[in-house]
């Protein structure tokens, strides 16, 4: 195919664990050197076998192609090799084997605000950061006003950035990055900055870039961003390409794969066999149950009805289970974090628990809009993290009545429903709020007084 812009062939990157140690002192290496005296200084990283065999392949035989104008997503768990891939493609680090061909100028955004200097003003930092990202001076001058306007910082452009709020700082940093115009753009998770509104603006800007026919490689943990921005997605796992194809499909598989280790049958999800958990393990979460208003197990909960999420646990005999904190976060396809429920927040402390049992979180009226939700669970005993499991279980919320009106807000306005009532007040009845009435009367007198004066 002619219009292939990025071609990656068997790209591999090996790290020696020792090499990753941040500081090596001269003494250590002098000792090493004396045992291997004729190894040239420069070839120290070229050992084929490491002395202690601590080799980690951050990437192994990764191959893929990206066409001109394509936006391709890269997903995978932490440590799957996403960042290493981006670092190699942006030439920050060298591959150990394999090759990559990039057709066109490459701009990489592994971080926003790289090289920002707190002492310099916004204006000065735009030039500095622009130059660091590979823009020409004239190019920056031409786009300067646009960059400032996009960041909405006209008033503060001559203030040192150390006086900026973190939001302003991020806006400025992203704004410079967003005006980068290379043919190939490599982006790492930078959209996860700023307030929601600014994020939307950035998404829009990214969309424009796509329209102009640029090729983008985009790494993110935000599945909804991947789905909206990228046609195709590469799924990395343990340094290898696990799958690639249309984003919807791959994201679906990816989410399912995380869940598939949980054995689920109609509202009961066993998480005993899951190994991707972290924590000390003095207490283990065993299963998750979803219960409807009649406390029957179901994988479909109804909006506005009573529902419970139960989490079973077991601990070794004789362990004191005091100050137990149990909780979960909810994510939907649209939003990374929809909710956060933890027992201490709702004021329910757990002391002296038996070694086996079930925690139950009850919603008198389930405040979630229809859709699929994923649960990350975690449990602490005292300050010790006992068990934590990402994407532990999934459940579905189906249409129901929340406001006793058989109506729900249109979709796209948030996953969580807020309980509220509307009322009307004509302000003439005695029961109306008194302070408000006094205020309005005072206003009225003032206006009357003014007219007299005039």
């Amino acid at each position: 195919m002619k219009d292939i812009v990025i071609r990656v062939e068997n790209l591999s990157k090996r790290y020696l664990i020792g090499q990753r140690e941040p500081y090596k002192t001269l003494r250590d290496t002098l000792a090493e050197r004396f045992t291997a005296p004729f190894r040239a200084l420069a070839s120290s990283q070229l050992h084929t076998t490491s002395p202690n065999g601590n080799i980690v392949w951050a990437l192994r035989d990764v191959s893929f192609e990206v066409k001109h104008g394509e936006v391709i997503g890269v997903i995978g768990r932490n440590g799957a090799g996403k960042s290493t891939l981006l670092k190699i493609l942006s030439r920050i680090t060298e591959p150990t084997a394999g090759r990559a061909m990039l057709h066109g100028r490459v701009g990489s955004l592994l971080e926003v605000g790289t090289g920002f200097n707190p002492e310099l003003t916004g204006r000065e930092n735009i030039f500095l950061n622009g130059a660091i990202l590979g823009m020409r001076r004239r190019e920056i001058e031409r786009k300067f006003d646009e960059i400032v306007a996009f960041a909405e910082l006209e008033k503060f452009i001559d203030t040192p950035v150390k006086r900026y709020s973190s939001g302003m700082y991020m806006r400025l940093a992203f704004s410079v990055a967003a005006h980068l115009e290379p043919e190939i753009l490599i982006v790492d998770e930078v959209l996860a900055v700023g307030d929601v509104q600014f994020q939307k603006k950035c998404m829009g800007k990214m969309g424009d870039v796509v329209q102009q026919g640029r090729t983008i490689l985009f790494v993110s943990h935000n599945m909804s961003a991947i789905r909206t921005l990228c046609e195709n997605t590469i799924w990395l796992e343990e340094g290898q390409v696990r799958a690639q194809g249309s984003s919807n499909e791959i994201v679906q598989h990816y989410l399912e794969a995380s869940l598939s280790h949980s054995q689920s049958s109609d509202g009961f999800v066993s998480i005993q066999a899951r190994e991707d958990r972290i924590g000390e393990g003095i207490l283990r979460l065993k299963y998750i149950r979803f219960l409807d208003s009649n406390l029957r197990c179901t994988s479909r909960l109804k909006t506005g009805q009573a529902a419970s999420i139960a989490i079973g646990y077991s601990a070794a005999e004789g362990v004191r289970l005091d100050n137990v904190l149990v909780g979960f976060t909810l994510s939907s396809a649209r939003q990374e974090f929809t909710g956060y429920c933890q027992n201490d927040i709702s004021g329910n402390g757990f002391q002296g628990l038996p070694p086996n049992g079930e925690f139950r979180c009850t919603f008198p009226k389930l405040p979630l809009t229809p859709g699929t939700y994923t649960l990350n669970v975690s449990c602490k005993v005292g300050t010790l993290l006992a068990d934590r499991l990402p994407q532990a279980a999934e459940f579905e919320v189906v249409d129901g009545d929340f406001y006793d009106s058989k109506l729900l807000p249109p979709s796209g306005y948030g996953d969580v429903l807020i309980d509220y009532k509307w009322a009307f007040d004509d302000l003439h009845t005695k029961d109306s709020a008194l302070p408000l009435r006094n205020y309005l009367e005072a206003e009225g007198q003032n206006q009357a007084g003014n007219t007299v004066d005039n």
Partner: protein, 288 residues
């Protein structure tokens, strides 16, 4: 846009685009001068940043560039000139010392900054690609501003003592370049080593102090007995300082074998430094 049209745009677009091939580098890498030239604007901005930030939030600001060599000169004049009666080749001792302190300050600053440069700029190195050589290069060049400011004092002193430069002053830029090359030569080695061994950072203050007294700054190289004097050029700063004195003050002895030896030493150090720096370059982001 129609599909054909889109493809056509894509074709035109591609025709003049560079192709970049990324693969493991093997063996000796050559110096990418062309690439360095392409990144000259980044070099400019990094120098500009270092200069801008240098005296931010100080009361005395750029006066620091004068205070340091000036007071060193005063102390040297009192102790070595007046009390120690160190011969100064028939030139008033204060200007004799100051004239040497100028290139010394330039060298010491450039050496310290460039040696720490890769570590200090690690946030850049791990996030963006550019020829790494730009980093120590920019720290060395930023020292020139201080040098220029301190030079004003020298002009004042020359007027005060009524010393007029000879035609030899035309060689001064060469000696400034020489001072910079010396700092860069050593700085390249130390910055690359510093990435891996932080011991280097602790060595530098000691090294510069040691080097100050090993160079003919408080004294003249004519103190060294003749058969050994040329060998003194093995310390390149001896060549730099002698060159400065000759071109500015017109001391009787024009730079001879001593300076020649210094130049050869710097060329060797610089070539080796460039080579070592380039060899290590590929691992900076992983190690720093």
């Amino acid at each position: 846009m129609l599909i054909e049209e889109k493809q056509e745009v894509a074709q035109r677009y591609k025709a003049d685009l560079p192709i970049l091939v990324i693969k493991p580098s093997k063996g000796w890498t050559t110096l990418q001068l062309r690439e360095l030239w392409n990144y000259r604007e980044l070099l400019y901005f990094l120098v500009w940043r270092d200069i801008k930030v240098r005296y931010k939030q100080t009361v005395l600001g750029a006066a620091w560039a004068i205070i340091q060599p000036f007071f060193t000169m005063v102390v040297f004049s009192i102790f070595f000139g007046n009390l120690g009666k160190i011969p100064s080749d028939g030139i008033p001792y204060p200007i004799f010392a100051y004239c040497a302190l100028l290139p010394w300050q330039l060298f010491a600053y450039a050496l310290t900054q460039s040696s720490n440069s890769l570590v200090a700029n690690q946030n850049l190195i791990t996030k963006v690609y550019f020829p790494r050589l730009i980093v120590p290069l920019s720290s060395v060049l930023a020292g020139l501003v201080d040098f220029a400011i301190a030079f004003l004092i020298l002009i004042g002193m020359m007027l005060f003592y009524g010393i007029w430069p000879t035609i030899a002053i035309l060689a001064l830029p060469l000696f400034v370049l020489f001072a910079i090359a010396t700092a860069l030569a050593v700085g390249l080695w130390l910055s690359a080593l510093n990435v891996q061994y932080r011991d280097v950072a602790y060595t530098i203050p000691f090294l510069t102090q040691f080097w100050l007294f090993a160079s003919p700054i408080a004294y003249s190289s004519s103190l060294i007995p003749q058969p050994w004097r040329a060998l003194y050029g093995l310390n390149p700063m001896a060549g730099v300082v002698e060159g400065f004195r000759w071109s500015l003050l017109g001391t009787t002895n024009p730079p001879g074998v001593l300076v020649l030896i210094s130049v050869v030493i710097v060329i060797i150090l610089l070539a080796g430094g460039l080579f070592y720096f380039q060899q290590m370059e590929r691992t900076y982001a992983d190690v720093v």
